[in-house]
Symmetry: D2
Subunit: 477 residues, 4 copies
Amino acid sequence: MRTSKQYLEKLAGMRKNIYLNGEVIGRDHPVVIKRSKAIQVTFDMVDDPEFKDLLTATSHITGKTINRFTHIHQTPDDLLKKQEMTRKLCNLTGGCIQRCMGIDAMNALSVATKNADIRHGTNYYERWLKYLEYFQENDLVVSCAQTDAKGDRRFRPGEQPDPDQYVHVVERRDDGVVVRGAKLHNTMSPYADEIIVVPTRALKKTEKDYAIAFAIPADTEGIYLIGREACFSHRQPGMEAPIADYGDIESFTVFDNVFVPNERIFLNGETDIGGGLALFFALYHRHSYCGCKPGVSDVIMGATSLIADYLGIEKMDHVKEKLAELVSVAELVYAAGIAASVKSTKAASGTQIPNVIFANVGRRHAGHNIYHEYNTLCDIAGGLPATLPLSSEYNSPVVGDFVRKYVTRREGVSPENHYRAAHLASDLLTSEFATILQVAGVHGGGSPIMEDIAIMGSYDFEAKKKLAKYLAGIKEG
Amino acid sequence: MRTSKQYLEKLAGMRKNIYLNGEVIGRDHPVVIKRSKAIQVTFDMVDDPEFKDLLTATSHITGKTINRFTHIHQTPDDLLKKQEMTRKLCNLTGGCIQRCMGIDAMNALSVATKNADIRHGTNYYERWLKYLEYFQENDLVVSCAQTDAKGDRRFRPGEQPDPDQYVHVVERRDDGVVVRGAKLHNTMSPYADEIIVVPTRALKKTEKDYAIAFAIPADTEGIYLIGREACFSHRQPGMEAPIADYGDIESFTVFDNVFVPNERIFLNGETDIGGGLALFFALYHRHSYCGCKPGVSDVIMGATSLIADYLGIEKMDHVKEKLAELVSVAELVYAAGIAASVKSTKAASGTQIPNVIFANVGRRHAGHNIYHEYNTLCDIAGGLPATLPLSSEYNSPVVGDFVRKYVTRREGVSPENHYRAAHLASDLLTSEFATILQVAGVHGGGSPIMEDIAIMGSYDFEAKKKLAKYLAGIKEG
Amino acid sequence: MRTSKQYLEKLAGMRKNIYLNGEVIGRDHPVVIKRSKAIQVTFDMVDDPEFKDLLTATSHITGKTINRFTHIHQTPDDLLKKQEMTRKLCNLTGGCIQRCMGIDAMNALSVATKNADIRHGTNYYERWLKYLEYFQENDLVVSCAQTDAKGDRRFRPGEQPDPDQYVHVVERRDDGVVVRGAKLHNTMSPYADEIIVVPTRALKKTEKDYAIAFAIPADTEGIYLIGREACFSHRQPGMEAPIADYGDIESFTVFDNVFVPNERIFLNGETDIGGGLALFFALYHRHSYCGCKPGVSDVIMGATSLIADYLGIEKMDHVKEKLAELVSVAELVYAAGIAASVKSTKAASGTQIPNVIFANVGRRHAGHNIYHEYNTLCDIAGGLPATLPLSSEYNSPVVGDFVRKYVTRREGVSPENHYRAAHLASDLLTSEFATILQVAGVHGGGSPIMEDIAIMGSYDFEAKKKLAKYLAGIKEG
Amino acid sequence: MRTSKQYLEKLAGMRKNIYLNGEVIGRDHPVVIKRSKAIQVTFDMVDDPEFKDLLTATSHITGKTINRFTHIHQTPDDLLKKQEMTRKLCNLTGGCIQRCMGIDAMNALSVATKNADIRHGTNYYERWLKYLEYFQENDLVVSCAQTDAKGDRRFRPGEQPDPDQYVHVVERRDDGVVVRGAKLHNTMSPYADEIIVVPTRALKKTEKDYAIAFAIPADTEGIYLIGREACFSHRQPGMEAPIADYGDIESFTVFDNVFVPNERIFLNGETDIGGGLALFFALYHRHSYCGCKPGVSDVIMGATSLIADYLGIEKMDHVKEKLAELVSVAELVYAAGIAASVKSTKAASGTQIPNVIFANVGRRHAGHNIYHEYNTLCDIAGGLPATLPLSSEYNSPVVGDFVRKYVTRREGVSPENHYRAAHLASDLLTSEFATILQVAGVHGGGSPIMEDIAIMGSYDFEAKKKLAKYLAGIKEG
C-alpha cells in the first residue's frame, strides 16, 4: 500500500494537462496538492486503529493486504465494510472522500467483463484481472468517467448531429483504438493516477462505437482536464479549521483522439454488455452513496446539534423534531445500504452485487432530501451563517471586540467557539464546495429520476398485481 | 401447534364478555368467528410450502417445532424471518395479520423480566419461562393491551383526578393483585385467548401501582371487551372476494377489579423496569411494523399497478414516478427492518433485540407516509372507487348491462375483472377497515412523534457534535 | 326563489329512474330526501341574516332577486361572494354544498355560447339566455355531467373501440338530437331538477358528434341514474348530530338514446368551442373549489382544535405547528380564489372569468393536501376515532358507565361532549362520506395533474425565459 | 425624487464607519458603490414607462409625486402596487431589491406611533410626520435594524447576563437618549442614508429600556457597520452579464453608546406598543416578501425553463410537472399577498394594514419552499452548474474550442448562449449571493416558525371549534 507522500510524488511526475484559471498546470501545483487532500486521507488512515479494519482488505487474487479502495467485493460483509468505511471517511473530510469511483468502476468491470466473455467468447476478464493486479499492487487512484456531454437530449448517441457528444471509437487498429469525445462532471480527475471510461447508457446494436470501456493514465496524450476548483470558503488567517482543508477540482475530461492500447480495453463493441456495465457502475456507486450521504448528513447533524446546543435551544420541541428528521434521512439511507449488502447476490465472476432495489431506494431518498437537510441546518442556525463577519473583522483591533461580544450566545462557551460553530454553518451553507455537495447530492451517481427508472426496470410489479387479483377475486387477465 | 379449528373451539368455550352493537356475545357469535379470520390464517398456513419455513421455529426452551408467533428471537435471522413472515401474511389478509402483538409482548417480557431479576433480585423471569412453555405448548393467541385511557394529557399517571385512567393495582393480596382501569385501541382482544398487560410509559418511583405487567385469560371475571367492528365494505352476493373476508374488532378492554394470580404477574412495582418494558414492547412492535407496513404497501401497489394496467396508463411517466415512490416507501421501511435485525444485540436473557434507531426510523417513515400511499392509489384510480355502483346494480337485469359497459376500459379485460379491480380500489379507499388501517398506520405501535422521542433518546448526538467541533477546529466546550 | 319544500315537491313528481340497492326508486324515496339535505340548505338559508347578502343576487337579465346559485357573475365582487358563500355553506354541511355545479356550468355556457356565436354565426347564446330566464325563475338545481366513461385511456373519443365511451350524438333530427353514452361521478344527479351535459376534453375536427352540450330534465326518457349512497356513519339513536344529516348519492348517468330538443342544445358540432367549454366549466369549478375546500378544511381544523383542547394539548408546540399548517393550506387556497376573483377578466358575453393561473394553483394546492389534512386530524386525535365504541355501548346499562368514564379526558368537559368530539373525528376519518370527500378532494373539478396541464397551457414562460436571458446576457435565441 | 447619482454623491460625503476585509472604508469605496447597485435601480427606473406607475406615488401629506419606496399606503391599491413593484424590481436584480425595509419600517411606525399617542397621550406621531416629510423630500434609503444579537435564547431581554444583547437605552437626557447593543443581519446598512431601529419582540413592563425606536444617519458617531460582502460569482472578463452586477453587503450594526436626539425618537419606554411595532414591521415586511419571493421564483423559473428548452426536454412530463410546481409556489405566495392587500384594514393613523393571516401564510409558504425551488433548478439543470469551466477556459486558445463544443446541446442555440445559460444556473446554484438568498428566503422577515406564531396568535380558532361543536351536536363547553 502506498503512502500519501508516494501518491503525491507519482502525481508530480505526470504530464501537465490540467487547465485551470487560464493556465496549464501540473499535479505539483499547490492548488492540485491542496485539493487532493481527501484522497491523501485514504492513504493516511490505513494504520489508524479506528480505520485499519475498514480501510484494508485481503486481495482475492494475491492474498495480500490491500487498500479497500482497490478491493473486489467477495462477500456481503465486504459490501457492509465498504459502506461503513465510506461513511466514516466522509466524516473526516466534511463530506466527500472522492475515491469511491475507482472501486465502484473496478467492481462493475469485474462483473461485466466476465459476462461479456460468457456471452461473446471474448477474453476481457483475463485482461482486466491483469490490470487489477497492477491496480492493487500500485494502490491506484482512479476517476471513473461516465457521463458524456450528451448533446441534444432528444437524440440517441448514434443520432447526434455532433457524434463526439458521446465518447466513441474513431479508429480501430491492431494494437488498440483511438477515441474521441468528452466526459463531464469528473470529480478529482486532475489528481487521479488513471481514468476509467465506461458507457453512460444502454446502447443499440448499431451503436458499437459507443460500447467502449478502458483504463488509461490521466496524462495520456490527447487528454485535456479542464478544471474548476471549489472549496469550503472564507477561512482566513487565525481561523483555520480542518474543514477548510477540503474541496475538490471537477473537470471536463476531453479525449481528443486518444490512443488506448489493447491490454487496457475492457469492452469494445459489445453493445448488449455496454448498457449493463453502465448500470453496474451506477449500482455500485449508488451503494457507495448509501455510505457517503449519511456521512454528509452526519456533518449537517453535527453542525445543527452543536449550534442548537450553543444557542440553548436543544430541548425545544421543534428543534428535536427537526433533528429526528435529519437522523431519519441519514439512517434510512444507511439502512438501505445495509439491506442492499445483506441481500446481495454473486455474479458469475464471483463478485458480490448489491441488491438493486435497496441500493436504488437508498440513493433516491438521499437525492430527494439533500437540499432539505441543508434547509434544516439553515432553519436552526438562523441568519448568522449568511452575515457572519470574516475573521479579518473577528481579529480587528477596532471592531474585533464587538464581533466577539455579539456572536456570543450562552455562558460557558467561549466567543471563539461560538464564532467557529457559526463559521462551520457558514462553510456548510454559503461556501461553493457546499453547493457542489448539494448538486452532487442530487445528481452524483444518478439523480432520483434515474433511480426511478432503475426501480421500475427491476421491481416485480407482476407479483404485486397477482396479489391484487387474488384479493379482488380476479381469476385471470 | 394448533389448527384454526382448535383455536375456534377453545374460543367457543369462553365466558361471554364481548359488548358489541348493544348485545353481550360470546366468541361463537358469527361476527367474532368472521372477524378472527386473519388469526385463523396464522394457523392454516403452517403447512403451506411457501410459509412453512417462515411460520414455524424451534423453541429454544423445549426444542419443539412451534408456531413462530410464539417464538422468542434468538438470532438476527429470527428477526429477519419474523419480519418476512409478517409481510407475507399481511399480503394474504389485505393488510394486517393481527397476531404480532403476542410475540412482541412475549419477547419484551423475556428481556424486561430478566433485567428486573438482575437489578432487583426478583424471580419474574422464571415465572415468565413457565408461562412461555404453556404459551408455546398451547399455541396461544394474545392481545397486548398497552395504551391506557390516559385522561388529561397534562398529568402523569399518579396525578390524574381519576386514578383509573391508567391501569393500576388497587389491592395487593398474598396470592396476587387486583387491578382496575382500561386499555384502549386493542385490536383482536375479542378473539384472543389471553391478554397481556404492560405499562404504557416511563414511571416515577411514586407510581409503583402503575408498574404492573401480567397475562390473563381474556374472559376473566371483571374484564369487559367493548368492541367495534370494521370490515372491507360493500361486497354483495355475486361479487365475493378474498379481501372481503377480512376485518377486525377493536376494543376498549376494561379491567373492573380483576384479580391476577401471582404466577401470572411479570412486574409488580419496579417502576424503573416498567418504562423499559413499555419501550421494549414498542421496539419489537415497531420492528414488526417494518414487516407489516410494507405488506400493506404491497396491497396498495398491487391495486395501483393493476388499475394502471387496466386503464392502459402504466407506461406514462407520472404513473411510473408514483409507483416508484410507493416502492420507495415500502422498501425503505423494509430495509430499516432488515438493518434493525442485522444490527441487533443480545439481551441478558439471550433474546435478540432489534436496533433501536433503525426500527424507529422505519416505523416513523411508514407512519409519515401511510396517508400519502392511499392518496397515490386514489390519484391513479380516479374517481371511480367513490362512485362505483354496488353489485346489486352490477347484477341488475335493467341496468347491469350499463354498469358492465361503462366500467370497461381496455380490450382484453373482461367487464367483471374491470369491476373487481375498481371494487378493490373502493375497498381500499372507502371502506371502514381501510380507514382503520390508515389510523393504525399512523398510531399503531406508536405514532411518528413517539419514534422521534425514541430516536432523540437513543441517538448519539454527542458523537455528531464532536465531529462538528473537529471540523470547526473547536478544541473544547 | 323556491323553498326547500317546493324543491322536494317538484322532485316528488318526477319519473322514477334512480337505481339504488337493487331497486328503482323515485325522488320521494326517504333515502333521496335525506341525501338531498345539503341542497335543501341552499334554499333554507336564503333569509338567514348571516347568509342573505351572500346567497342572493340581482339577476342581470331580469333585475329580480335570485338565489346566487343561479346567478351569472358580472363583477369581481360576484366571484368573491360566490367563493365566500361556498365556504360558509360547506361549513354548515360538514363538507360539500353540492349545488355549485349548476352555477359553474351556467357561467361556462354563458361564455362559450357567446364565443361560438361570434366565431360561427350560431345563435346559441340567445337560446341559452332563454333557458337562463327559466333557470333563474324556477330556481333550478342542476347537476353538471362532464366526465365520460372514457374507455381505453390511450385512445381519443373518436378512436374508441366502443364509441359510447364518450357521450355523443347518434342521430340528428330537425327538432333536436339523440345522444348516447354515460357520464360518471355525478354527485347529486338523483336529486337535481335537470342535468347539464358538457364535453370532457378538447376535440379534433373529426369529433363533431362529441361536441355536444345541452340541458335536460333529470327524469327524461332514456336517462338511468345508477346511484351509490354515502353518509357520515355510525350515528345511532341517542347520539344524533347535525353532521349525520349529510351525505350524498353519486351516480353513473346513462344516456340510452336520449332525445334533446333544439331549444335545449347549446353546442352541436363546433369542436373548437367544445374544448373551450370543457375548460371554462373546469375553471369555474376550480374557482368554486377555492371556496369549498377551505370550507372542508374549516371542519377539519375545527375538529382538530376542539380535540386538542379537550385533550389538554392545545398549547404544545407540535400541535400548534400542525394547526398552523392546516390554516396555511386553507388560507392559501382561499387566497388563490380571492386573487382569481380580483384578477378576473370579462368575457365577450359580459360574464366575469376568474384568472386561470390563480384558480388552478389554488385547486392544485387543495388537491395535493387533502389527504394530508385528514392525516393531521388523525395525528392529533390519536387512535380513538378508529376504536370508539358505538352509541349502543355508550348507552348500555352494563358497559355505558365504562365508555363514559374512559372517553373522558379533562375536567370541565362532560363525558358526552368528549364522546361527541371523538365521534366527530370518527365521522371525519372513518365514515364512507369522509372518504368520498377525500377522493373528491383529489379528483373533483380535475385532479392536480389536470391543473398542471392548465397551468402549463396558460403560464407565460416565454416572459420568464426572456428574464433569464436578460440576466445571463443572452442577446438572442 | 433623487437620481442614483445624487444618492451616491450623498453617500460619498458620509463618515467612514464600514469595516470590511480588515479595512475601514467609506461609501465612496468601489465595493460599496458596486454592491449598492440594486438600490440604484430603484432610482433609475422611476421614469421607465413600464415602472413609472408602480415606482411613484402621490404623498398623502404633501401631494407631491414621490418614490413609492417612501410612501405610506393609504388604500388596498397602494398595497397591491407595492407588491407588484417589488416583484418586478426583484426580477431586474436577480433576486432582491433591498430597499423594502425602509418603506416597511416607515409604515409600521405610522401605525405604532399613532397607537402610542392614543393609548399614552404621547406625541410620537407628530414627530414622525415631520420625519416623514424629510424622508420623502430627500427620497431616503433606509435600513431597518430589528434583529438583536439575543444572546442566550432561554432568557428574555431583561434577563440576559450581558444586557447589551438587545439594543437598549443606557442613558436618558433632556435632549435625547444614549443606546447600546447591536442589530444583526442588516442587509444594505453600509449604503443606506439612515438606519431605523425597532424592537425585535414583545416586551414586559419591566423592559422599558428595550422599548426604543428611532431613525438616525448611518454614519452617526458610535455606529460601526461590520460588513460581509456577497455576490453572484465567477463572472470573468469576456463573460459579463447583468446578474453579475448584483450582490450585497450584510452587516452587524453596532451601537456603541450612540446618542439619539428627541426629534428622532419614535418610541421610548412604552413596552405595550413595542411588541406591536415589532409585529407591524414584520407584517409589512412579510407582505413585501409576497412580492419579492415570487420575483426570486421568476428568476429560478426563467433559468429552469430556459435550460429545459436548450436541453430539448421542455416537453417531458416530469419537467412540466416540476415547472408547474415552481409556478404554484410563486403564484400561491403572490396570491396570498393580493388577498392580504384586498382584505387589508385601516389603522387609526389612516395607514392601510395588510391582512395578518394572508400575509403570514404567504411568507410561510415561501419560506418552506425556497430550498425546494433551488433543488428543482438543480434537478433540471443537471450537474453542469457545479462543473462548468470558468470563462478563462471558455476563452482559452488551447481548450476554449473544447469547452464551446461540449457545452453545446441543441442546434439553433449558439455555444455562447449555451454557456451563458449554464453560467446563470451556476450563479444561482453555486454563488455565495445565491446562498445568501436561500438563507434570506428562510429567515428574512421572520422564518416559518415565526409565521406559525403570528398565525396562531391571530387566527380565529374559537370560530372553528364552534363549528365543530355545532356539527357534533355539542351544546356547550
